[in-house]
Chain length 297, copies 4
Amino acid sequence: MVDKDKRLEGIIVPILTPLNKDETLDEKGFQKLLQYVLEGGVHGVFVLGTAGEFPAFDYKERERIVEIAMEEINGKIPVLVGTSDPSTRQVIEHIRRATKVGVDAVVVCPPYYYPLTQEEIIIHYTTIANHSKLPIIIYNIPSTTKVTIETKTVLTIVERSRIVGVKDSSGNFNSFLELLAFIKSKIPIFQGIGSLTAVSIICGAAGGVMAVANLMPRETAYLYRLIQEKKFEEAMVLQEKINKISRIFKSQSTHAGLKMALSLKGICSPYVAKPISPVSKENEAKIKKVLKESNLS
Amino acid sequence: MVDKDKRLEGIIVPILTPLNKDETLDEKGFQKLLQYVLEGGVHGVFVLGTAGEFPAFDYKERERIVEIAMEEINGKIPVLVGTSDPSTRQVIEHIRRATKVGVDAVVVCPPYYYPLTQEEIIIHYTTIANHSKLPIIIYNIPSTTKVTIETKTVLTIVERSRIVGVKDSSGNFNSFLELLAFIKSKIPIFQGIGSLTAVSIICGAAGGVMAVANLMPRETAYLYRLIQEKKFEEAMVLQEKINKISRIFKSQSTHAGLKMALSLKGICSPYVAKPISPVSKENEAKIKKVLKESNLS
Amino acid sequence: MVDKDKRLEGIIVPILTPLNKDETLDEKGFQKLLQYVLEGGVHGVFVLGTAGEFPAFDYKERERIVEIAMEEINGKIPVLVGTSDPSTRQVIEHIRRATKVGVDAVVVCPPYYYPLTQEEIIIHYTTIANHSKLPIIIYNIPSTTKVTIETKTVLTIVERSRIVGVKDSSGNFNSFLELLAFIKSKIPIFQGIGSLTAVSIICGAAGGVMAVANLMPRETAYLYRLIQEKKFEEAMVLQEKINKISRIFKSQSTHAGLKMALSLKGICSPYVAKPISPVSKENEAKIKKVLKESNLS
Amino acid sequence: MVDKDKRLEGIIVPILTPLNKDETLDEKGFQKLLQYVLEGGVHGVFVLGTAGEFPAFDYKERERIVEIAMEEINGKIPVLVGTSDPSTRQVIEHIRRATKVGVDAVVVCPPYYYPLTQEEIIIHYTTIANHSKLPIIIYNIPSTTKVTIETKTVLTIVERSRIVGVKDSSGNFNSFLELLAFIKSKIPIFQGIGSLTAVSIICGAAGGVMAVANLMPRETAYLYRLIQEKKFEEAMVLQEKINKISRIFKSQSTHAGLKMALSLKGICSPYVAKPISPVSKENEAKIKKVLKESNLS
C-alpha cells in the first residue's frame, strides 16, 4: 500500500472494466490493461468509476474487480475504488467490503435516482463518513447524477467529515476555480474532464482523472511532468494533441470507444454492459484510423 | 392472481414501503397499509415504485417486500412490481425473482446513471423482454432518469416486445395526449402525475398511478367511479379537493410527507431511507392541520 | 369595441402576420386572414403574439399591423395586442401606442434577454400597469423567455395591478391546474398550448389561444361550443382530430408551417421573418397532403 | 480609428451604460467611466453589450451612447458595438447606424426570442454579413439567448462571411478549447467569462471580455501583461484576487453590482434599467466593504 500521509496527485486512470460478450469480467484483459497503465507511469488507478461501468455490477462482481486491481497494482500506486449507489445504506455496504481488501480511498458520487437538495447531499456524505474507516473522495458529476454539489456544500462536508479529495467532473470551470480558491488548501482537487487537465493543474488542481489515460497512459503521465517542470506551453500543445484523439471517442459512450481502441491494440475485449450501445462499424473505422495516425495502434 | 386477460385499469397505488428507524422494513406497518388501501377500493397496487423507495433495497429486501404484498393482497387486485435498476442485467435478475412469486406484471424505468439515447432505451426494454416471462409496463419518469422516452420509442418497443402498459410520469400533457393518440388502442396508458388523473382518464387514459392514494384510497377510487359514470364536473371538483391535500406533501419528498401523514393516522412509521430528508417539525404541523381539516386524521 | 364588462372567453386566434418576401407586411393577405377567422366564428384575436412574429417589427410596423386588425375586426370580437419587449420601458411605449387605437387589452410576456428572478417579473408587470390605461394579460411562455412565472408570482401581480387574464403556454398542466385553482375565480385563465384546449376548458379555463385556429377557425370555434354544451367526449374526438393536423406543423416553426398552409389555401403569402427557416419542400408536400385529406385545402 | 489590420487582442471592457434614475443616459458618468477605463490601460471597449444593458435602448438612444463612446475613446483603442436584436432585420438596421459613426466592429449574439436551430443561426449571421460593411464578432451567450452556437456552426459562418472574432460567454471550457483548436488560427477568440480570462489566454485565446474591468481596468490590463510576459503563476494569483472581488457582484445582476461600486467610487450613478432589481442595502454594504479592503474605494 502507498504512503498514507502523502497527498494524492497526478494522473489518475478511471480504469475500464473489460467484459466478455456475456458481460462477465474479462479477467485477462483487465490484468493486461492494469499492467499497461502501470507501465505507462500513471499516478493512481480509480476502479469502478463512471468509465469503469460500476452501475453494471452487483456486490460480488465489484469485489472480484477490486481484488484483481489490488493484486495487479500491488501497492505501486494508490488504488481508489468507486462505491457509489442510489442508496446511502448500500454505499456503506460497498465501502465495508472495499475496506476488507485494503484500498486507499473510496470515491462516492451523490445518489442518482431521486432529485436531491444540497441538505440531502450533506446527509449522504456525513452518514457515509460516520460508517467508513476509509478516507472518502467527493465525486461531483451532474451529467449523471442530475445534481451539482455546490462549493458551499463541499465546504460543509469537508468540515464535518474525513474527506481526502474532490473529483469535479462538472465541466463548469468557473465553479472549479471557486472550488480551488476555497478548498485546495485543505484537500487536493482533481479535474474530472480530461481535456481540462493541464489548465486545471496550472490553476492549482492536484491532478486529473482522465479516461483517455486508459489508452494513453504514457502521454498523459508526461503531460503531468511537463506541468511540474513549468513547461506550460509545451503542456498545452500536448494537451491539445491528446484532446484531438479524445474527440473521436465522443460519438458514443466514451468507455465504449476506449474499449474498442484497446481491443484494436490487443489489450482487452471491446464489449460494454447493456444498455450502452456498442461502437458502430463506422466509428470503429474512424478509431482505427486515428490510432494509426497517432502511432497508438 | 387476477384474470390475466383483463386490461389493467383504474387507480393504482404506488405503495409506500414503511421503514423502521434503522431502515429495516416495518412489516406490520406495511401489512396495515396494504389492508387500508385494499379496503379503500383501489384497483391495483404497484410495489417498489418511486414512492416505494425501490433504490434503497437490495435483492433480498426487495423479495421480502414483494412477498408480503402478495400475501396481503392475496389475488384480490393486480400486483405490479418495480424492477428498475441502473443496469439492464440486474433488471433481468430482479424480474427473475419477481417471476417466482407470481406477480402480475413488472414496471421498469430506463437505467438512470448514464445519459441514454433513444436507441439505448430500446436496447434496454427489448433485452429485458427477451429474458422475461412477465408482462412489462414501461415507466417514463424523466425527473429521476434524466431521459424522456419519446412516443416513437414507445411505439418501437411495443411492436417488438410484450408490453402491457405505459405509466407516464413526465408531467408533459401534450406528449401524454400523443401517447394516447398513438398507443391507447394497443395497450393501456396510465397517468403518473396524481393531479392529472381525472383529465387523463377523460382523455382516454386507462387510469392513474396516484401516490396520494396511499393516504386517500377511498377518495381516489371514488374519483375513478365518478369518471366512469361520466360525472366529469363532479370528478373535477373532487380532483381539486385531492390536489389541495396533495400540495401539502410537496415541501419535501412526497413519500416522506405521505409516510408522516400515515404515521399520524396510526397506520405505519414515518421513517424514510437516507439521504432523503425527513419531514421538518414545521411541515409535520402543517400536515397534521390538513389531515384534521380534511377529516382524514 | 366590445363590451368592457364581459369576461374574455372562448377561442382566441394568435393571428399570423403575413409578410411579403422582403418582410414587409402583406396587407391584403392580412385582411383576408382576419376576415377568414372572423367568419370562422372565433371569439377573439390576439395580434402580435408569438405566432404573429412580434419581435420582427419596430414601433411603426407594429402600429400599422394593429391598425389593420382594428379596421377589419371593427369591434365584432375583442382585439388583444402583444406589446412584449426585452425592456420594461419599451413595453410601456408599445402600450402607449396601442392605447391610441383603442385595443381591448394588451398581452405581455416577461422580458426575454436577461435571466430574471420572480421579484424582477413582479417589478416588470407592476411598473407597466402603473403606466398603462389598458387592461393587461399576463403571458407565461418559458420556452421563449427562459423564465416560468410561478403561480405565487401571478397572484402577487394580480393583487397589485389591473390584470384581466392569464395566458399560460408553459405546457405544464400540473401548474396550469394550480393556476386555475388559485386564480380563475378572479380572472379568466387561457390555455396557450392548442392541443390542451379542450381539457383545459373542462378543467375550468376560460378558453384557449390556438395558433391552429388561423387555419381552422370554424373547427376550433366548434370545439368550444361542444364543451359549452357539455359534449365532452365528442369534444375530445374533435380535439384529437385538430391535434393530428397540428402535429404536421411541428417539423418547423409553427408559424412557418401555418403560413405555408394558408398560402396553399390562397389566403396569404408564406414568408416568415428571418432567421426562422422557411418550410422545406418535403414539409410543404406533407402539409399539402394533410390539407387535402382533411378537406381543408 | 485604430489600425484595421491589427488583430484584436487583450482586455476588452464591456462598458456599463450609466443611467439616471429615470433611465435616461447619465452622460457625464458615462464619459468619466470611459476615461477611467482608458487610463486604466484596457485594450478595447465593447459598447452596448450584456453588461451595457443594450436591450433597454431604442435606436436613437443606442446612437447617442455610441456617439459618446466614439468621442471619448477618440481612436485610442478599438470600439466594438453590440447590435443584437431578436430580429435579423433590426440587427441590420442597428449595424447600418453604427457604420455611419465609424466603429471598429460590431458584436452580435443570436436572436433571443424564438428557440433557434443551428441552421437558423447560420441564416442570421450570413444574412447580416451580406448587408454589413463592418466586420462582425460572433457572440455566444446561451445563458441569455437559450441557444449554444456549436463550434461546427461557428466554422460554417466563418467560412461564408466576414467574421473577425468570437466572444464565448458559454462558460463551457471544454467547448472553448474546441473553439480554440479549430478556429484560433483564423480569427481571434475571446473569453467572455471574466474569471476564466487568464487560463483562456494561456490556452490560446486572444483576450478576455471582462465586466469587472469597468471597476478594475488597471488590474485587468496588468493581468494581460503578466501573461504576455509568461509569468503564468503570478497571473493566476492576480486572477484569483480579481475573482474574489467579482464574486461579490453575483448576488444580483452583475451590472447592477458594478454600477453600485462605481457609484461608491464617485464615477457614475448606480441606476439600472427595469426590470433588473437594484442592489439591496445589504449587498451595498458588502460591496462597500470589499472596495475598502481591496483599496478600490
